[in-house]
């Protein structure tokens, strides 16, 4: 099969770029740990009272690290608001008690899917004070656009 010289140059450039992109993504993921949220823990979505999600809320782990266990539901989150001081790192562990939702903080890299039966996890450090909006960006029913919570980051 004949390949024209220009076509060879084009394909080497194109495929070379793709390999470069993949290496960048791979190094960021596997060397620096910047992985997409892919937590493997499961729970019984219809029986959350008997799991670690029986009392959702914020828990301080050490000086500036918190764990927030949050239950997503149609159409809101439990708890509906949490408060942390500026500079805190929060580990969000979120699950759903009904359908598929998301846990998304617009303007940050926090954006993960919440599927019933699974716990998803993401970590974020809040370096600016303010009232952060959390929304569900995955369709979950007629009240989907009302689903929100807030994170108060105090100075």
């Amino acid at each position: 099969m004949h390949l024209h010289k220009y076509e060879k140059i084009w394909l080497i450039f194109g495929i070379g770029s793709l390999i470069l992109f993949l290496v960048v993504l791979g190094v960021a993921a596997f060397a620096f740990g910047q992985q997409p949220p892919s937590h493997m823990a499961t729970v019984d979505s219809q029986n959350l009272e008997e799991s670690v999600f029986s009392e959702p809320g914020l828990e301080q782990i050490n000086e500036d690290t918190y764990r927030a266990r949050i239950v997503a539901m149609a159409f809101g989150y439990d708890p509906g608001t949490i408060e942390v001081p500026v500079g805190s790192t929060v580990i969000f562990e979120v699950t759903s008690q009904d359908v598929v939702h998301s846990f998304t903080i617009p303007g940050t890299n926090v954006n993960m899917m919440i599927t019933p039966g699974h716990v998803n996890m993401v970590e974020h450090t809040f370096n600016e004070p303010g009232e952060y909006l959390v929304i569900c960006n995955e369709y979950c029913g007629t009240g989907h656009h009302l689903m929100q919570m807030t994170i108060e980051v105090t100075p």
Partner: protein, 566 residues
């Protein structure tokens, strides 16, 4: 590349045989269903854009998510599938000879089955029993008739696909040792892709959703159903793009007065699509729990591989343009551009589609970029992305195709005024899309969610900013949506005129002459058994372990939630 690119002589491959009228009728019915679905679909689109911008409120009997479901199903599934099959039946009749009565009957059975499925699903959507969006969203649950309708839709396309495939393989058997016509080769690659991909959606609908909707099982494995859906959902986009590429490879060279310069590269591109467009569904699930990073990354690599045939296509098409333009006397670095038929809608509409595919494809690479996906996942960016890929590249190519396909199969003429009307349609569509998709992309970067009705989240400043941007605002989306709707209605008028009112006469089915290397294409490219086997091996590699994991380590199944959608 010393061959002449002009198609002056050597028309032996495709003689003046037109589409057999009986086959033309089958193709015509497909196109008619496609355009009626198109009209309903775009009306759903404009209502959403206006509602979401807060310009209008919807009446109590019509839900935002209901019209969102209708818009997605009617345009992304019904319009595309019917127009693609219409194109296939007409093109296969032209290039491989008339269908036998038996195969044509099979084609009709497929058409009717698909249509019944469409009507069943559409009725459930219109009665608000199925506002689950076209991605299904288990454990939200639609009426079981919706799932049966979708099953019939898929099965109908398989039956019609079987008629087309049988027609191709019959030709191949009757012409041993000869390369098969490019139209048939590409149709076959596309249909095999569609059938293999459809197995995933059939498995989740028949194996999971239907028994669950009928109360035969009490729980559904949500992540498994999503995985099976996206196993189908990504090749679906190649099912749209491959017929558009067929127009670019096989029709456009003739329209500009040239010929395709390489048959082998065209075949190679289609084989690569068949191999690499299926084992990539996880790039729609990068933000999900229950799938390990490792397997997500493997499928990210495969997703990047499927860019290669698009690179091949871009080179082939623009090389054909340049050669033809130069041979027609175009001088200098860009002089050949002036020689292209800019006033011919059959060229211009697909050309705008190609041009827009450059930013559209780039956006696709961003979406697939693993952890980078967190920035844009389920934001308006994604909506902007598929409105310029399928909604512009594919749709404008099909618009351009309609201007010769419809008169060919109805025995009418493409008039000068219709051509002008097509040019206006193309410009309006492109301009409308620049506003709408441009604003969607930028708003997505600021976090505006997709699939969400009008809301200000209790006037939170972050959400208010999505209405207050100078360009990046829901209002810009609405303006673009209105322009697109005007273009869409004009296109529907073009369709009606070409189908029933244009003057009777002959219209050319434009098809490229035999490329220079047509007879010397490597025979291995025609070895379908080999390509199907490799495709299956890749699918098994990419999916077996993660799916095994999903089943073995599954959480308790989810019950039905059908109260949430009404």
């Amino acid at each position: 590349m010393r061959q002449s690119n002009l198609a002056l002589k050597d028309e032996a491959l495709f003689t003046d045989v037109q589409v057999d009228p009986k086959d033309g009728k089958l193709a015509f019915y497909h196109v008619v269903v496609a355009f009626f679905a198109f009209l309903l679909g775009i009306l759903g689109g404009v209502l959403q854009a206006l509602e979401r911008a807060g310009i209008i409120g919807l009446p109590s009997w019509l839900g935002y998510y209901q019209i969102l479901t209708a818009h997605g199903v009617l345009l992304a599934l019904v319009f595309t599938t019917f127009i693609i099959y219409g194109f296939f039946f007409a093109g296969m009749s032209k290039t491989h000879g008339p269908f036998s009565n038996g195969l044509r009957k099979l084609g009709w059975i497929g058409f009717i089955t698909t249509l019944i499925g469409t009507v069943m699903a559409a009725t459930m959507i219109l009665t608000n029993e199925a506002s689950v969006l076209y991605t299904f969203y288990a454990p939200l649950q639609a009426h079981y008739i919706f799932y049966i309708g979708l099953t019939l839709f898929i099965v109908g396309t398989w039956i019609a696909g079987a008629a087309l495939l049988a027609h191709y393989f019959k030709w191949k058997k009757q012409h041993p040792g000869e390369p098969t016509p490019l139209f048939g080769f590409m149709t076959t690659a596309t249909l095999i892709l569609w059938i293999v991909a459809g197995l995933g959606v059939a498995a989740t609908v028949l194996g999971q959703m239907l028994p669950w909707a009928l109360g035969m099982t009490d729980g559904i494995n949500v992540v498994l159903s999503r995985t099976l859906f996206w196993y189908f959902g990504h090749p679906l986009v190649y099912f749209w793009i491959m017929p558009a590429y067929m127009v670019w490879y096989l029709v456009i060279p003739k329209v500009i007065g040239g010929r395709l310069f390489s048959s082998s590269l065209a075949r190679l591109a289609f084989v690569l699509f068949l191999l690499f467009s299926i084992p990539v569904g996880f790039h729609h699930q990068l933000m999900e729990a229950g799938i390990t990073e490792f397997w997500k990354y493997i499928q990210t690599i495969l997703t990047f591989v499927v860019v290669v045939p698009s690179l091949l296509t871009a080179f082939s098409i623009f090389a054909t343009f340049e050669q033809t333009g130069r041979e027609q006397g175009g001088k200098g670095l860009f002089g050949w551009l002036k020689k292209l038929p800019w006033g011919d809608v059959r060229f211009f509409a697909p050309f705008m589609g190609m041009l827009i595919f450059i930013p559209a494809g780039t956006g696709g690479l961003i979406n697939a970029s693993f952890q980078l996906n967190a920035l844009i996942h389920n934001t308006m960016w994604v909506v902007g992305h598929f409105h310029i890929t399928v909604g512009t590249t594919v749709v404008l190519t099909f618009f351009g195709m309609a201007f010769w396909l419809i008169p060919v199969i109805t025995g009418r003429k493409l008039t000068k005024s219709m051509n002008r009307s097509g040019m206006v349609t193309t410009w309006l569509w492109t301009i409308g899309m620049m506003f709408m998709s441009g604003a969607m992309h930028i708003m997505g970067l600021y976090g505006a969610p997709r699939r969400t009705a009008y809301t200000t989240y209790q006037d939170h400043p972050q959400a208010m900013s999505w209405f207050e941007g100078i360009f990046a605002s829901h209002l810009t989306v609405a303006i673009g949506g209105v322009i697109l709707t005007i273009a869409g209605i004009l296109m529907f008028y073009n369709f009606v005129y070409l189908a029933w009112f244009a003057p009777k006469g002959e219209t050319e089915f434009p098809l490229t002459a035999e490329p220079d290397d047509y007879r010397s294409s490597p025979a291995i490219l025609e070895n379908w058994k080999l390509w199907i086997a490799i495709a299956i091996v890749l699918i098994i590699f990419a999916y077996t372990i993660p799916i095994y994991d999903m089943i073995v380590n599954a959480p308790p199944g989810s019950p039905t939630f059908n109260n949430l959608i009404r």
